[in-house]
Subunit: 192 residues, 2 copies
Amino acid sequence: MSVQERKQRERAERERLIVATARELAEQQGWDAVTTRRLAERIEYSQPVLYSHFRGKREIIGAVALEGATELAGAVRAATSAAHGPRERVAALARAYLDFAALNPAVYDALFQLDGGLAYAQEHTPEPLKDAFAALLESLGEVAGDGVHPGLFTEVFWASLHGLATLTRAGRLLPEDAAQRVELLVDRLAVV
Amino acid sequence: MSVQERKQRERAERERLIVATARELAEQQGWDAVTTRRLAERIEYSQPVLYSHFRGKREIIGAVALEGATELAGAVRAATSAAHGPRERVAALARAYLDFAALNPAVYDALFQLDGGLAYAQEHTPEPLKDAFAALLESLGEVAGDGVHPGLFTEVFWASLHGLATLTRAGRLLPEDAAQRVELLVDRLAVV
DNA sequence: TCGATTGTCTAGCGGTGCTAGGGTTGGGTC
DNA sequence: GACCCAACCCTAGCACCGCTAGACAATCGA
Protein backbone atom coordinates (compact mmCIF):
# COMPACT_ATOMS: atom_id res chain seq x y z
CA MET A 1 0.00 0.00 0.00
CA SER A 2 2.76 2.38 0.92
CA VAL A 3 4.14 2.22 -2.58
CA GLN A 4 0.83 3.27 -4.09
CA GLU A 5 0.56 6.08 -1.60
CA ARG A 6 3.99 7.34 -2.52
CA LYS A 7 3.06 7.27 -6.17
CA GLN A 8 -0.13 9.14 -5.53
CA ARG A 9 1.81 11.71 -3.55
CA GLU A 10 4.30 12.14 -6.34
CA ARG A 11 1.55 12.46 -8.89
CA ALA A 12 -0.19 15.15 -6.86
CA GLU A 13 3.12 16.91 -6.45
CA ARG A 14 3.70 16.86 -10.18
CA GLU A 15 0.24 18.23 -10.78
CA ARG A 16 0.99 21.14 -8.49
CA LEU A 17 4.21 21.65 -10.39
CA ILE A 18 2.35 21.83 -13.68
CA VAL A 19 -0.10 24.43 -12.40
CA ALA A 20 2.60 26.49 -10.72
CA THR A 21 4.79 26.40 -13.80
CA ALA A 22 1.92 27.36 -16.09
CA ARG A 23 1.12 30.27 -13.83
CA GLU A 24 4.73 31.39 -13.62
CA LEU A 25 5.18 31.21 -17.37
CA ALA A 26 1.93 33.08 -17.95
CA GLU A 27 2.91 35.86 -15.56
CA GLN A 28 6.34 36.13 -17.12
CA GLN A 29 5.46 36.04 -20.80
CA GLY A 30 1.68 36.00 -21.07
CA TRP A 31 -0.70 33.12 -21.70
CA ASP A 32 0.19 32.99 -25.38
CA ALA A 33 3.62 31.78 -24.37
CA VAL A 34 2.14 28.94 -22.33
CA THR A 35 2.24 26.20 -24.92
CA THR A 36 2.08 22.54 -24.07
CA ARG A 37 5.56 22.05 -25.48
CA ARG A 38 7.15 24.81 -23.43
CA LEU A 39 5.25 23.79 -20.33
CA ALA A 40 6.35 20.18 -20.75
CA GLU A 41 9.94 21.24 -21.21
CA ARG A 42 9.89 23.36 -18.07
CA ILE A 43 8.56 20.57 -15.88
CA GLU A 44 11.05 18.24 -17.56
CA TYR A 45 8.48 15.76 -18.82
CA SER A 46 7.11 15.10 -22.26
CA GLN A 47 3.88 16.65 -23.53
CA PRO A 48 1.63 13.60 -23.06
CA VAL A 49 2.28 13.71 -19.33
CA LEU A 50 0.26 16.92 -19.17
CA TYR A 51 -2.68 15.08 -20.64
CA SER A 52 -2.53 12.41 -17.97
CA HIS A 53 -3.30 15.15 -15.45
CA PHE A 54 -5.56 17.47 -17.42
CA ARG A 55 -7.90 17.03 -20.34
CA GLY A 56 -6.16 19.82 -22.15
CA LYS A 57 -4.79 23.32 -21.92
CA ARG A 58 -8.20 24.66 -20.91
CA GLU A 59 -8.22 22.64 -17.74
CA ILE A 60 -4.76 23.87 -16.84
CA ILE A 61 -5.99 27.43 -17.18
CA GLY A 62 -8.96 26.45 -15.04
CA ALA A 63 -6.68 25.10 -12.33
CA VAL A 64 -4.74 28.36 -12.24
CA ALA A 65 -8.05 30.21 -12.06
CA LEU A 66 -9.23 28.23 -9.04
CA GLU A 67 -5.94 28.86 -7.28
CA GLY A 68 -6.34 32.55 -8.07
CA ALA A 69 -9.91 32.65 -6.80
CA THR A 70 -8.80 31.40 -3.41
CA GLU A 71 -6.03 33.98 -3.25
CA LEU A 72 -8.32 36.78 -4.38
CA ALA A 73 -10.83 35.88 -1.69
CA GLY A 74 -8.03 35.87 0.87
CA ALA A 75 -6.69 39.24 -0.27
CA VAL A 76 -10.13 40.81 -0.13
CA ARG A 77 -10.89 39.44 3.33
CA ALA A 78 -7.51 40.52 4.67
CA ALA A 79 -8.06 44.06 3.41
CA THR A 80 -11.61 44.40 4.66
CA SER A 81 -10.94 42.96 8.09
CA ALA A 82 -8.19 45.52 8.62
CA ALA A 83 -10.47 48.45 7.78
CA HIS A 84 -12.89 50.25 10.11
CA GLY A 85 -16.37 51.28 9.15
CA PRO A 86 -18.44 50.28 6.13
CA ARG A 87 -17.21 53.07 3.84
CA GLU A 88 -13.55 52.35 4.53
CA ARG A 89 -14.17 48.61 4.25
CA VAL A 90 -15.59 48.99 0.78
CA ALA A 91 -12.76 51.27 -0.30
CA ALA A 92 -10.22 48.76 1.01
CA LEU A 93 -12.02 45.98 -0.83
CA ALA A 94 -11.91 47.89 -4.09
CA ARG A 95 -8.23 48.69 -3.73
CA ALA A 96 -7.40 45.09 -2.82
CA TYR A 97 -9.33 43.77 -5.79
CA LEU A 98 -7.67 46.12 -8.28
CA ASP A 99 -4.25 45.53 -6.76
CA PHE A 100 -4.72 41.79 -7.14
CA ALA A 101 -5.65 42.22 -10.79
CA ALA A 102 -2.69 44.50 -11.42
CA LEU A 103 -0.17 42.31 -9.62
CA ASN A 104 -1.39 38.98 -11.02
CA PRO A 105 -2.58 39.81 -14.51
CA ALA A 106 -2.22 36.29 -15.86
CA VAL A 107 -4.12 34.79 -12.96
CA TYR A 108 -6.80 37.45 -13.32
CA ASP A 109 -7.08 36.60 -17.00
CA ALA A 110 -7.41 32.93 -16.21
CA LEU A 111 -10.22 33.77 -13.83
CA PHE A 112 -12.25 36.22 -15.85
CA GLN A 113 -11.00 36.59 -19.40
CA LEU A 114 -9.95 33.18 -20.66
CA ASP A 115 -11.94 30.03 -21.03
CA GLY A 116 -10.89 27.70 -18.25
CA GLY A 117 -13.90 25.47 -18.74
CA LEU A 118 -15.37 26.48 -15.39
CA ALA A 119 -19.03 26.93 -14.61
CA TYR A 120 -19.97 30.32 -13.20
CA ALA A 121 -23.09 31.54 -11.44
CA GLN A 122 -24.51 28.04 -11.23
CA GLU A 123 -25.02 25.42 -8.58
CA HIS A 124 -22.14 23.26 -9.73
CA THR A 125 -19.79 26.21 -9.70
CA PRO A 126 -16.50 25.23 -8.01
CA GLU A 127 -16.26 26.20 -4.35
CA PRO A 128 -13.35 28.66 -4.69
CA LEU A 129 -15.34 30.75 -7.16
CA LYS A 130 -18.41 30.81 -4.93
CA ASP A 131 -16.20 31.76 -2.01
CA ALA A 132 -14.56 34.62 -3.88
CA PHE A 133 -17.98 36.05 -4.63
CA ALA A 134 -18.94 35.47 -1.01
CA ALA A 135 -15.92 37.45 0.12
CA LEU A 136 -17.15 40.40 -1.91
CA LEU A 137 -20.70 39.95 -0.69
CA GLU A 138 -19.67 40.03 2.98
CA SER A 139 -18.52 43.62 2.83
CA LEU A 140 -20.61 44.92 -0.04
CA GLY A 141 -23.89 43.56 1.29
CA GLU A 142 -23.86 46.02 4.17
CA VAL A 143 -23.73 49.05 1.86
CA ALA A 144 -26.28 47.90 -0.72
CA GLY A 145 -28.84 50.34 0.62
CA ASP A 146 -32.48 49.80 1.58
CA GLY A 147 -34.56 47.71 -0.75
CA VAL A 148 -31.62 46.66 -2.87
CA HIS A 149 -30.79 43.00 -3.04
CA PRO A 150 -27.25 42.51 -1.66
CA GLY A 151 -26.41 39.95 -4.34
CA LEU A 152 -27.47 42.26 -7.12
CA PHE A 153 -25.55 45.15 -5.62
CA THR A 154 -22.45 42.98 -5.30
CA GLU A 155 -22.73 41.98 -8.94
CA VAL A 156 -22.89 45.59 -10.07
CA PHE A 157 -20.02 46.66 -7.87
CA TRP A 158 -17.97 43.70 -8.96
CA ALA A 159 -18.67 44.41 -12.63
CA SER A 160 -17.50 47.97 -12.15
CA LEU A 161 -14.27 46.83 -10.56
CA HIS A 162 -13.82 44.27 -13.30
CA GLY A 163 -14.30 46.94 -15.94
CA LEU A 164 -11.73 49.20 -14.33
CA ALA A 165 -9.29 46.34 -13.96
CA THR A 166 -9.51 45.09 -17.53
CA LEU A 167 -9.67 48.46 -19.27
CA THR A 168 -6.71 49.72 -17.30
CA ARG A 169 -4.59 46.70 -18.02
CA ALA A 170 -5.51 46.71 -21.70
CA GLY A 171 -4.31 50.29 -21.97
CA ARG A 172 -7.81 51.65 -22.49
CA LEU A 173 -7.57 53.69 -19.30
CA LEU A 174 -4.48 55.51 -18.08
CA PRO A 175 -3.30 54.21 -14.71
CA GLU A 176 -2.54 57.69 -13.35
CA ASP A 177 -6.10 58.46 -12.24
CA ALA A 178 -6.82 54.98 -10.92
CA ALA A 179 -7.11 56.10 -7.29
CA GLN A 180 -9.53 58.90 -8.18
CA ARG A 181 -11.72 56.51 -10.12
CA VAL A 182 -11.94 54.14 -7.17
CA GLU A 183 -12.86 57.01 -4.86
CA LEU A 184 -15.62 58.12 -7.17
CA LEU A 185 -16.97 54.61 -7.61
CA VAL A 186 -17.07 53.90 -3.89
CA ASP A 187 -18.59 57.28 -3.06
CA ARG A 188 -21.41 56.87 -5.53
CA LEU A 189 -22.24 53.18 -5.33
CA ALA A 190 -21.95 52.51 -1.59
CA VAL A 191 -24.71 53.70 0.71
CA VAL A 192 -23.19 54.40 4.12
CA MET B 1 -4.68 57.61 -65.04
CA SER B 2 -8.13 56.12 -65.24
CA VAL B 3 -6.74 52.62 -65.17
CA GLN B 4 -4.83 53.28 -62.00
CA GLU B 5 -7.89 54.82 -60.45
CA ARG B 6 -9.96 51.79 -61.29
CA LYS B 7 -7.34 49.52 -59.74
CA GLN B 8 -7.27 51.62 -56.62
CA ARG B 9 -11.03 51.46 -56.43
CA GLU B 10 -11.02 47.70 -56.80
CA ARG B 11 -8.34 47.39 -54.17
CA ALA B 12 -10.33 49.47 -51.71
CA GLU B 13 -13.40 47.42 -52.48
CA ARG B 14 -11.51 44.21 -51.80
CA GLU B 15 -10.25 45.61 -48.53
CA ARG B 16 -13.81 46.35 -47.46
CA LEU B 17 -14.72 42.82 -48.45
CA ILE B 18 -11.99 41.40 -46.25
CA VAL B 19 -13.10 43.39 -43.21
CA ALA B 20 -16.78 42.64 -43.76
CA THR B 21 -16.08 38.94 -44.23
CA ALA B 22 -13.88 38.76 -41.15
CA ARG B 23 -16.60 40.43 -39.12
CA GLU B 24 -19.30 38.18 -40.49
CA LEU B 25 -17.29 35.07 -39.84
CA ALA B 26 -16.43 36.23 -36.33
CA GLU B 27 -20.07 36.93 -35.49
CA GLN B 28 -21.15 33.59 -36.90
CA GLN B 29 -18.52 31.32 -35.38
CA GLY B 30 -16.35 33.43 -33.09
CA TRP B 31 -12.93 34.95 -33.66
CA ASP B 32 -11.21 31.60 -33.24
CA ALA B 33 -12.82 30.53 -36.47
CA VAL B 34 -11.42 33.52 -38.31
CA THR B 35 -8.26 31.98 -39.68
CA THR B 36 -6.34 33.44 -42.58
CA ARG B 37 -7.07 30.33 -44.64
CA ARG B 38 -10.81 30.40 -44.06
CA LEU B 39 -10.93 34.14 -44.61
CA ALA B 40 -8.97 33.84 -47.84
CA GLU B 41 -11.26 31.10 -49.06
CA ARG B 42 -14.38 33.15 -48.35
CA ILE B 43 -13.16 36.17 -50.27
CA GLU B 44 -12.01 33.82 -53.02
CA TYR B 45 -8.38 34.91 -52.99
CA SER B 46 -5.29 33.23 -51.66
CA GLN B 47 -3.87 33.93 -48.22
CA PRO B 48 -1.03 36.25 -49.31
CA VAL B 49 -3.58 38.70 -50.68
CA LEU B 50 -4.65 39.40 -47.10
CA TYR B 51 -1.11 40.43 -46.31
CA SER B 52 -1.03 42.89 -49.16
CA HIS B 53 -3.81 44.78 -47.38
CA PHE B 54 -2.98 44.21 -43.73
CA ARG B 55 0.21 43.47 -41.82
CA GLY B 56 -1.45 40.46 -40.26
CA LYS B 57 -4.50 39.14 -38.49
CA ARG B 58 -4.15 41.74 -35.75
CA GLU B 59 -4.68 44.57 -38.18
CA ILE B 60 -7.78 42.92 -39.57
CA ILE B 61 -9.19 42.75 -36.07
CA GLY B 62 -8.24 46.39 -35.65
CA ALA B 63 -10.13 47.33 -38.82
CA VAL B 64 -13.26 45.59 -37.53
CA ALA B 65 -12.80 47.41 -34.23
CA LEU B 66 -12.70 50.82 -35.91
CA GLU B 67 -15.82 50.01 -37.87
CA GLY B 68 -17.48 48.96 -34.62
CA ALA B 69 -16.42 52.12 -32.81
CA THR B 70 -18.19 54.26 -35.37
CA GLU B 71 -21.33 52.19 -35.10
CA LEU B 72 -21.24 52.18 -31.32
CA ALA B 73 -20.94 55.96 -31.29
CA GLY B 74 -23.89 56.18 -33.66
CA ALA B 75 -26.02 53.83 -31.60
CA VAL B 76 -25.29 55.74 -28.41
CA ARG B 77 -26.04 59.13 -29.99
CA ALA B 78 -29.26 57.84 -31.54
CA ALA B 79 -30.46 56.53 -28.19
CA THR B 80 -29.56 59.62 -26.18
CA SER B 81 -30.99 62.09 -28.65
CA ALA B 82 -34.34 60.32 -28.49
CA ALA B 83 -34.50 60.51 -24.70
CA HIS B 84 -35.74 63.43 -22.58
CA GLY B 85 -34.00 64.65 -19.46
CA PRO B 86 -30.54 63.81 -18.13
CA ARG B 87 -31.59 60.77 -16.12
CA GLU B 88 -33.44 59.16 -18.98
CA ARG B 89 -30.63 60.05 -21.37
CA VAL B 90 -28.10 58.21 -19.25
CA ALA B 91 -30.37 55.21 -18.89
CA ALA B 92 -30.89 55.13 -22.64
CA LEU B 93 -27.14 55.37 -23.17
CA ALA B 94 -26.50 52.45 -20.86
CA ARG B 95 -29.11 50.29 -22.54
CA ALA B 96 -27.84 51.18 -26.01
CA TYR B 97 -24.28 50.36 -25.02
CA LEU B 98 -25.16 47.00 -23.53
CA ASP B 99 -27.45 46.16 -26.41
CA PHE B 100 -24.66 46.87 -28.85
CA ALA B 101 -22.32 44.59 -26.93
CA ALA B 102 -24.92 41.83 -26.81
CA LEU B 103 -25.92 42.09 -30.45
CA ASN B 104 -22.40 42.43 -31.85
CA PRO B 105 -20.28 40.32 -29.53
CA ALA B 106 -17.48 39.77 -32.01
CA VAL B 107 -17.22 43.43 -32.84
CA TYR B 108 -17.28 44.29 -29.16
CA ASP B 109 -14.48 41.80 -28.58
CA ALA B 110 -12.45 43.32 -31.38
CA LEU B 111 -12.90 46.72 -29.77
CA PHE B 112 -12.21 45.97 -26.14
CA GLN B 113 -11.06 42.41 -25.58
CA LEU B 114 -8.74 41.44 -28.40
CA ASP B 115 -5.51 42.96 -29.49
CA GLY B 116 -6.19 44.90 -32.67
CA GLY B 117 -2.94 46.79 -32.41
CA LEU B 118 -4.73 50.07 -31.76
CA ALA B 119 -3.54 52.84 -29.49
CA TYR B 120 -6.02 53.87 -26.80
CA ALA B 121 -6.16 56.91 -24.56
CA GLN B 122 -3.34 58.59 -26.42
CA GLU B 123 -2.99 61.45 -28.84
CA HIS B 124 -2.44 59.21 -31.85
CA THR B 125 -5.55 57.23 -31.02
CA PRO B 126 -7.63 56.67 -34.18
CA GLU B 127 -10.45 59.14 -34.63
CA PRO B 128 -13.35 56.61 -34.40
CA LEU B 129 -12.18 55.55 -30.95
CA LYS B 130 -11.93 59.11 -29.73
CA ASP B 131 -15.36 59.81 -31.15
CA ALA B 132 -16.93 56.82 -29.42
CA PHE B 133 -15.62 58.08 -26.11
CA ALA B 134 -16.84 61.56 -27.02
CA ALA B 135 -20.33 60.16 -27.64
CA LEU B 136 -20.35 58.80 -24.10
CA LEU B 137 -18.94 62.01 -22.69
CA GLU B 138 -21.64 64.15 -24.29
CA SER B 139 -24.41 62.64 -22.21
CA LEU B 140 -22.47 61.49 -19.19
CA GLY B 141 -20.69 64.78 -18.65
CA GLU B 142 -23.93 66.48 -17.62
CA VAL B 143 -24.52 64.05 -14.76
CA ALA B 144 -20.98 63.89 -13.38
CA GLY B 145 -21.92 66.02 -10.42
CA ASP B 146 -20.26 69.10 -8.95
CA GLY B 147 -16.51 69.05 -8.64
CA VAL B 148 -16.17 65.82 -10.56
CA HIS B 149 -14.23 65.90 -13.79
CA PRO B 150 -16.56 64.83 -16.64
CA GLY B 151 -13.84 62.77 -18.30
CA LEU B 152 -13.11 60.86 -15.13
CA PHE B 153 -16.79 60.26 -14.50
CA THR B 154 -17.23 59.01 -18.05
CA GLU B 155 -14.35 56.61 -17.62
CA VAL B 156 -15.87 55.16 -14.46
CA PHE B 157 -19.32 54.83 -15.96
CA TRP B 158 -17.89 53.30 -19.11
CA ALA B 159 -15.83 50.82 -17.10
CA SER B 160 -18.95 49.76 -15.22
CA LEU B 161 -20.85 49.18 -18.44
CA HIS B 162 -17.89 47.32 -19.86
CA GLY B 163 -17.76 45.10 -16.80
CA LEU B 164 -21.46 44.30 -17.05
CA ALA B 165 -21.16 43.61 -20.76
CA THR B 166 -18.19 41.26 -20.55
CA LEU B 167 -19.19 39.40 -17.40
CA THR B 168 -22.67 38.81 -18.73
CA ARG B 169 -21.47 37.55 -22.06
CA ALA B 170 -18.86 35.31 -20.46
CA GLY B 171 -21.54 33.66 -18.37
CA ARG B 172 -20.25 35.18 -15.12
CA LEU B 173 -23.51 37.06 -14.63
CA LEU B 174 -26.95 35.72 -15.41
CA PRO B 175 -28.76 37.80 -18.03
CA GLU B 176 -32.10 37.69 -16.22
CA ASP B 177 -31.35 40.57 -13.89
CA ALA B 178 -29.59 42.70 -16.48
CA ALA B 179 -32.24 45.43 -16.50
CA GLN B 180 -32.20 45.70 -12.71
CA ARG B 181 -28.43 46.06 -12.71
CA VAL B 182 -28.58 48.88 -15.21
CA GLU B 183 -31.23 50.66 -13.16
CA LEU B 184 -29.12 50.41 -10.04
CA LEU B 185 -26.00 51.58 -11.80
CA VAL B 186 -27.67 54.60 -13.35
CA ASP B 187 -29.47 55.54 -10.13
CA ARG B 188 -26.31 55.50 -8.09
CA LEU B 189 -23.71 56.87 -10.45
CA ALA B 190 -25.59 59.65 -12.21
CA VAL B 191 -26.26 62.90 -10.32
CA VAL B 192 -29.45 64.42 -11.65
C1' DT C 1 12.13 -15.22 -12.37
C1' DC C 2 8.52 -14.26 -15.14
C1' DG C 3 4.19 -11.94 -16.83
C1' DA C 4 1.35 -8.10 -16.62
C1' DT C 5 0.48 -3.54 -15.66
C1' DT C 6 1.68 0.99 -15.35
C1' DG C 7 4.05 4.85 -16.91
C1' DT C 8 6.54 7.61 -20.29
C1' DC C 9 8.38 8.87 -24.63
C1' DT C 10 8.90 9.40 -29.74
C1' DA C 11 6.71 10.54 -33.65
C1' DG C 12 3.09 12.35 -36.14
C1' DC C 13 -1.69 14.36 -37.36
C1' DG C 14 -4.16 18.33 -38.85
C1' DG C 15 -4.31 22.82 -37.88
C1' DT C 16 -2.31 27.90 -37.14
C1' DG C 17 -0.03 32.71 -38.86
C1' DC C 18 2.95 34.12 -42.14
C1' DT C 19 6.31 34.42 -46.36
C1' DA C 20 9.62 33.34 -50.29
C1' DG C 21 9.74 32.76 -55.04
C1' DG C 22 7.88 31.61 -59.47
C1' DG C 23 4.30 32.56 -63.06
C1' DT C 24 0.81 34.88 -65.39
C1' DT C 25 -1.43 38.73 -66.84
C1' DG C 26 -2.08 43.11 -68.63
C1' DG C 27 -0.56 48.10 -69.41
C1' DG C 28 2.71 51.40 -71.71
C1' DT C 29 5.87 52.11 -75.40
C1' DC C 30 7.86 51.78 -79.84
C1' DG D 1 0.30 45.36 -83.67
C1' DA D 2 4.31 43.33 -81.07
C1' DC D 3 7.16 43.60 -77.37
C1' DC D 4 8.89 44.36 -72.62
C1' DC D 5 8.37 45.08 -68.10
C1' DA D 6 6.12 45.69 -63.88
C1' DA D 7 2.48 44.63 -61.06
C1' DC D 8 -0.10 41.11 -59.22
C1' DC D 9 -1.37 36.64 -57.35
C1' DC D 10 -0.75 31.79 -56.30
C1' DT D 11 1.65 27.49 -54.92
C1' DA D 12 4.33 25.62 -51.63
C1' DG D 13 6.50 25.66 -47.47
C1' DC D 14 8.30 27.37 -42.84
C1' DA D 15 7.96 26.90 -37.73
C1' DC D 16 4.79 26.56 -34.53
C1' DC D 17 0.24 25.06 -32.17
C1' DG D 18 -2.97 21.40 -29.33
C1' DC D 19 -3.43 16.81 -29.03
C1' DT D 20 -2.82 11.52 -29.53
C1' DA D 21 -1.48 6.66 -31.20
C1' DG D 22 1.55 3.24 -30.44
C1' DA D 23 6.13 1.54 -29.14
C1' DC D 24 9.01 0.96 -25.36
C1' DA D 25 10.85 0.67 -20.55
C1' DA D 26 10.33 0.18 -15.76
C1' DT D 27 8.16 -1.68 -11.95
C1' DC D 28 5.00 -4.48 -9.39
C1' DG D 29 2.76 -8.95 -7.90
C1' DA D 30 2.84 -13.87 -8.11
